[in-house]
Amino acid sequence: MEIFKLGFRNTGRNRKRTLINALTISAAVIAIILFDVLVEGQLNDLVGNYIRMGIGHIKIHKKGYDKESERLPLDILINNAPETIEKISDINDIRDIYPRLKAGGLISCREKQSPVVINGADLEKEKDIELITEKNIEGNIPKKGEYGILIGKELASLLEVKPGDIVFLYSRTRYETHNVIDLEVSGIYSIGFSTYEKSNIFMPIDILQELIGSSSVSELTIMIEDENLVDAIADSIKSKLAGFNMEVFPYHHYLSEVQNISAMQQSAIIYIRFILLTLAFFGIVNMMMISVWERKKEIGTMRTIGYSKLQITGMFLCEGFWLGVFGSLLGCIIAFFLSLILKNFGIPLPEELLVGINLPMSTHIYGKMLPEFFGRTFFLGVIASILATIPPSFRAVFLPIVKALREY
């Protein structure tokens, strides 16, 4: 206890040095937390964009569809969509349920053509939750019953079409025949995700159903109120639909790519944390070495009156502990306010950067604050500070007593 008290008081003996040491830790803590906040924010943005690009929070398919989803099967469709929706509509926290139909096709205009994924949806109803209808639309969103189509900016540029132009859409039907329909380009969407823009077109679900000759849907996309409840809600949907021959997946089932990105980012963060804390570590070691040098005589005196090497080491470790607590606390407080700024105002991303990245990223990174960022970094700051006092404390205790006492 005395050692703890001594360690605490020693932090106050040279306030300027203590402040510099604490600021060294604070700087590392601030940098780590802000990095965490930005990376989490970016990840959150990415996941959010994927969810709003048609994945939704939860998807319901006819059993077996997911395995075959790459070929956009028309033989594994939900035939009883209204009944299914009715069955699960009383589950709390479900915001809305959107039936969708997907099919493969070929779009052409004059001599230009391109294979596409045709997404049939009630675009009017989905305009608040669907990324492509939410922003950067040139033209209009085709309404139910309208022979209109919404295509991506990249595809529009490839086909050299603009809103008002007519395109032809070829598709397989439910009965493995072929059908073609001419549609007006109602609007052109742009989300900054070129691969998606090139290959995904959107049209009213009833028109697509007419094209493929079926009133069925490929999936029911569910949006929920609280993203944290996604697994629980998916489970209750599963139990409600037992016997319906359906499969239910929460959004993370579809985001293995994002999960890989997240894992890569986490590894990068570990290295960055390590580098920042190592820098802080050496800063403190340097300062504490000076402190030990100045306190040689006092350390000699303590050894003389009976303090063991372990107790002297303990005193320095306690000093490091308190330094770490002050520095990390200060860092956490400053980082909290800076994170609030990042959360509310974000950081703009250069457009040229977004073009090169084939991911649905927003033009701004907004920070996302999680309590564990602060708790974990505070802990790491304290540990780094304690570890940084080990080399100086060893220097102190291995100094011969008589030599220490001779110092002036």
Binding site: L6, K297, E298, Y307, S308, L405
Partner: protein, 231 residues
């Protein structure tokens, strides 16, 4: 015999040469003695006190503490003996600057693991005995040289050591304060029966001691009992 030295030598390497700080001294210190080690600067007084106080090991010879050979004991053993049985007073007071006078004095008792109530009582008693009860809450930098040395004496004595080594305890004090400190040590020697061995090169001070061991170039040149005022 509390401490016995037999042909003790201490050499220090200094660059490529060796300094022979103590060149074979033999003497003993009895319990309750009040002895001064006198000699000019560089005569080996501090080295001798360091050896007797188990702060350093002799190069050769034998040092016995209550008939136990302590010449080559381990660091932890020496720490234990210093903590339990030896007190130290330094020329530059060597108080812990972040602790108050009271806390500085209390330190040896804390190290001995004495319970709080007894610790506080002992600390208050020694504060009164050394005449510094009114400065208990002050930190060292708020005290005069004399007060600091009184705190250092109280710290050396609070744990009831068998022997106290004082290395030039008056060297950083004016002569009047120096005499007050020596008289305080003398009083404590007589009342408490604590053995004092202190070093000085001030002829005015070493007259007060009952035994004077004179050191020149690391050798004892004279060892005399000069005042027979031992109780």
């Amino acid at each position: 015999m509390l401490i016995q030295l037999e042909e003790v030598k201490k050499d220090y390497p200094l660059g490529k040469t060796t300094v022979h700080a103590i060149r074979g001294v033999s003497f003993g210190i009895e319990e309750c003695e009040f002895a001064v080690i006198a000699g000019p600067s560089g005569s080996g007084k501090t080295t001798l006190l360091n050896l007797m106080g188990l702060l350093d090991h002799p190069t050769s010879g034998k040092i016995c503490f209550e008939d136990r050979d302590v010449s080559g004991i381990s660091e932890s053993e020496a720490t234990k003996i210093r903590k339990m049985r030896i007190g130290f007073i330094f020329q530059t007071f060597n108080l812990i600057p972040v602790l108050t006078a009271f806390e500085n004095i209390e330190l040896p008792l804390l190290l001995k693991g004495i319970k709080e109530k007894e610790r506080k009582e002992k600390t208050f008693n020694i504060l009164e005995e050394t005449g510094i009860g009114d400065i208990a809450k002050h930190k060292p930098d708020e005290l005069s040289g004399g007060e600091r040395q009184r705190v250092a004496i109280a710290r050396a004595l609070v744990g009831n050591p068998d022997i106290v080594f004082a290395d030039e305890p008056t060297a950083n004090l004016d002569s009047e304060t120096g005499f007050q400190i020596i008289h305080l040590m003398e009083k404590l020697n007589k009342i408490e029966g604590v053995t004092f061995v202190f070093s000085t090169h001030d002829p005015g001070i070493f007259k007060v001691a009952e035994r004077k061991i004179e050191l020149h170039d690391g050798k004892i040149s004279k060892d005399v009992v000069q005042n027979s005022n031992k109780k």
